[in-house]
Amino acid sequence: QTDSLNLPVYDYSDPQEYEIGAISVEGAFFAEQNAIIGVTGLSVGDKIRVPGPDIPRAIKNLWRLRLFTDVAIEQEKVIGDVIFLRLRVEERPRFLRHSYKGVKQGKHEDLNEVINGYIVRGGIVTEDAKVNAAEGVREYFVEKGFLDATVQVEEIVDTSRANSVRLVFDVDKKERVKIKKINFVGAEAVKGKKLRKRMKETSQKGRFLKSSKFRPELYEDDKDAVIAYYNTLGYRDARVLSDSMYRDENGDLVIDINMHEGNQYYFRNITWKGNSIYDEETLSQVLGIEKGDVFNEEELQSRLSFSQDNADVSSLYMDNGYLFFSVDPIEVAIEGDSIDLEMRIFEGPQATIDKVVINGNDRTHEHVIRREVFTRPGQKFSRSDIIRSQRQIIGLGYFNQETLGIDTPVNPDRGTVDIIYTVEEKPSDQLELSAGWGGQSGVIGTLGVTFNNFSLRNLFNKEAWHPLPQGDGQRLSLRAQTNGRFYQSYNASLTEPWLGGKRPTSLTVSAFYNKYDLGTEALPRKLIIQQGSVSFGTRLRWPDDNFVFRSGINLQTLSLDNWSNLFITDSGETVGNGNFNNFSFQFTLARSTATDPIFPKQGSNIELTVKLTPPYRNLGLRSDDPEDLADVEERFRYLEYHKWRLNADWYTPLVGKFVLKTQAKIGFLGAYDDAVGVAPFERFQLGGDGINNQQFSFAGVDIVSLRGYEIEELENNINPLTGANGATPIFSKYTMELRYPLSLNPSSTIFVLAFAQAGNAWRNGRDFNPFDLKRSAGFGARVFLPMFGTLGFDWGVGFDKDAETSENGNLSTFNIILGFEPE
């Protein structure tokens, strides 16, 4: 650069080819010459073109080392077609490290990030980089509200290594500057208070939960927000004329914003042009803007294209595949404060889906996703199909809801569109390892795993084990539970959601084994229940596709050895010994529209289940001999019953965030043959917290809570002959629950509730009286934590209890909920 007068002149239209004769390096004292030459990519003997791409590339490579303040490649001399090159570089000391003065340790990491943007360790330090880094640090503090912060940089030669320096950033943050007042001058149509509210990030001192620091960039955004607010009120000419900031006597900041409001405008006539598919009336109705409404650009755009509920004009077209649709509102006349609009529409052709692409699935096999997707090649594009597909994909539970991407690149020449779903896998497996307090049973340890995305076919494929074979969308769950002393339980189940791969018919195979052994060697007391079951579930297309039908077979055996008197027949015989076979078919018809499992706001879940055993005696398979019937064990060796359950929940949003839950639960257990009577198992036990024994699931009875009443406070639960608590063949329960959410954060959902409940249990059909109900009311709270499930309590008062028979004459009960909501 020194000999600017003698710069060689190259003719760019006529590049020459040279062979490199030699390369010399000038100005490198610390960097090694050969290394520098190596980086350029040039070497002796190479053929290069001058002018050509080689020299600029070499220069670029040298710059990238960030070791030099100047880089030049010069032609030393040319002999024939051999060129001699000289690399001239200017070195600077290298930056070794930096430190801070006047900054707390906690901020160092943030600041290092700022500084690394300007200076690289091992690279050189220029004046420029130093100043920029210092400014970066200062801006960091200004962003935090320290408007007066100053930063000095000191360069110190570091003796620990040759040719190195270190930098010291000396920061003086000064006092944090707070905003005392924001004044709007000239704002008459709108109150200053309302405008200040629009300034989300810039607020006066003293506003609740708002910081009053001043951040310049956000302040600019906030001014725009004020204007945007004016625009929504029809003041389309509103603007900030000027703004000024000054400090008051305490050093606090005062902001004056000078507003020009302008006139308020109104919509007048809106006409449509270019529409052939929908008529003007339909379009106007969808637009929903009337003559005389305040002119609001934001509202107009939203009604045309961006409405939250997808009921805008664009959606009308897009949903039907008119992807090339566009609408342009033109202001054809402005008279006084009235604006006439002409909507110019381009409809274009209907787009056909060409390819449906799924990206990002690095665990889940593609067919598991593709079969759920409603947008398919060859169909017309429809936005509602995309939204539905999105819901289906999220519903699989394998992907991050926040990052699910949907792209629709169009090909206008072919009139087609591709649909690209980009998913991000999230962990979907659950490990349950817990020790819980189970009342009288002591500490219960649980070890359970659920793999929600299992792949059975890869079970024997070693390469697919990372750490488990996964990706086929099958669900495998294994669980073991014990309290070490008298209780053991083992569960296993496997579900394939698309049996055969052609229809969404699920197959579930499951088994469990439960053992309670409370007795001693001398006096055994034992109950063992084991069950294997197979069930199919299928989504119905009729009456609508929210219906699900499930059917299954359960093979269960119960063996009792001197077991307690929980199981009692109608005639009062206690069933405490023997082996019983419970073979049943089960059919469930369910309709579910309340999708949120934790705090549903609307929709309903209705489920009707019938469980049937074969009517052995009617089929002549079992003996009707009175002698056999007299023996309880022989009579029930093969259980005969038909059992009906109806569960229905409705969720209705009320004012504000209040949600009303209405629920009905009815259960009925019947016998085929009066001579046999109703089976002692499979009955219901209504009352109490519904948790009693439910830690031990599958205990031979269905336990249903009734808030406000203990089990023994319902007279039908008490066997008149033995006086012990039993279970009944019939119950019904009705609940109204008013719920209010305190937090809907998925990591901790909290809500409070008030309930009114009525229910009763009956010992047989003849006594059944739907109006003879035990009423109660109370309140409670729930907290849902993903790790622990539902925790909470209910406090209820039973109105229909006999104060004398109740415990201490106390009419209320207090229930604690641990882990899950009881039935």
Partner: protein, 256 residues
């Protein structure tokens, strides 16, 4: 020992030990030490080997995303290096290592193919080109299988129109496919199923297409194992078309 080397602050020792670890196959430790030496050896003769081996430590520890990045980085930084060709190849090969089974996302296959193609263009005389081409073929075959299987899934789901279009795309995107015969057979067969399950009003048009697809298959493949099945479909389709023709004749004839 490793810890004391790491905290020694002595670049020469780091480099020496990193070399030892590297040669012993302890790539994780080598990586840590090489990373420390990058700064101090910037612009020195050793920097090239450091960068080269640093990239390999990622490759050997199966961190292929980073390996690919550092190989690429090496190749652009050391343009004159004799190792550049190898690094360019390895950058693509690392992506090849990431290419999963056909049931999963094939982004890395696409990246690897791009990388190998670029390699073959840049070093047409390299002895690695034939390997690159083999690997490209392998990954294209995988992507083809993926698209083929997704088209077949639509057949399974009885979404014949979607299957038809997807099969067409496979033939278009993979002209080299060895499955052309099977695909054309499945197209003809699923078009027949489609027509059979359609409303009467749409059947004529759909059976006609089935006949077209079947005929063109039979012309194209003289000795196909699918011939008998398609012959059968052809006969049935033609019979059905005749039947539809009669129905229409009668219904038009009955009009005044």
């Amino acid at each position: 020992e490793f810890e004391s080397v790491r905290t020694s602050g002595d670049p020469a020792l780091w480099l020496a030990k990193a070399g030892d670890y590297y040669e012993q196959g302890e790539y994780q430790r080598a990586q840590t030490l090489y990373e420390l030496t990058i700064g101090p050896y910037r612009g020195k003769a050793e920097a090239e080997e450091i960068a080269y081996r640093y990239a390999y430590t990622y490759y050997y520890t199966r961190q292929y995303v980073l390996a690919s990045y550092y190989f690429k980085n090496f190749a652009t930084t050391y343009g004159g290096s004799p190792l550049k060709e190898e690094a360019d190849f390895m950058a693509a090969y690392s992506n090849y290592e990431l290419s999963p089974v056909y049931r999963l996302d094939q982004s890395y296959s696409v990246k690897a193919i791009e990388g190998f193609e670029e390699f073959a263009n840049r070093y047409p005389n390299s002895e690695r080109v034939s390997e690159a081409n083999l690997l490209i073929d392998e990954m294209r075959a995988k992507m083809e299988k993926k698209d083929f299987e997704s088209a077949k899934l639509y057949v399974d789901l009885s979404r014949f129109e979607s299957a038809q279009r997807s099969f067409e795309n496979v033939l278009k995107d993979y002209p080299e496919t060895a499955r052309a015969e099977e695909i054309r057979f499945l197209m003809a067969k699923s078009q027949y199923e489609y027509a059979r399950q359609s409303y009467v009003t749409r059947q004529q048009e759909r059976f006609e297409k089935a006949v077209d697809l079947t005929n063109s298959f039979l012309e194209r493949y003289d000795t196909s194992e699918y011939r008998d099945e398609l012959q059968d479909i052809l006969t049935k389709s033609q019979a059905k078309l005749k039947e539809l023709e009669n129905v229409r004749y009668q219904s038009t004839g009955s009009r005044p």
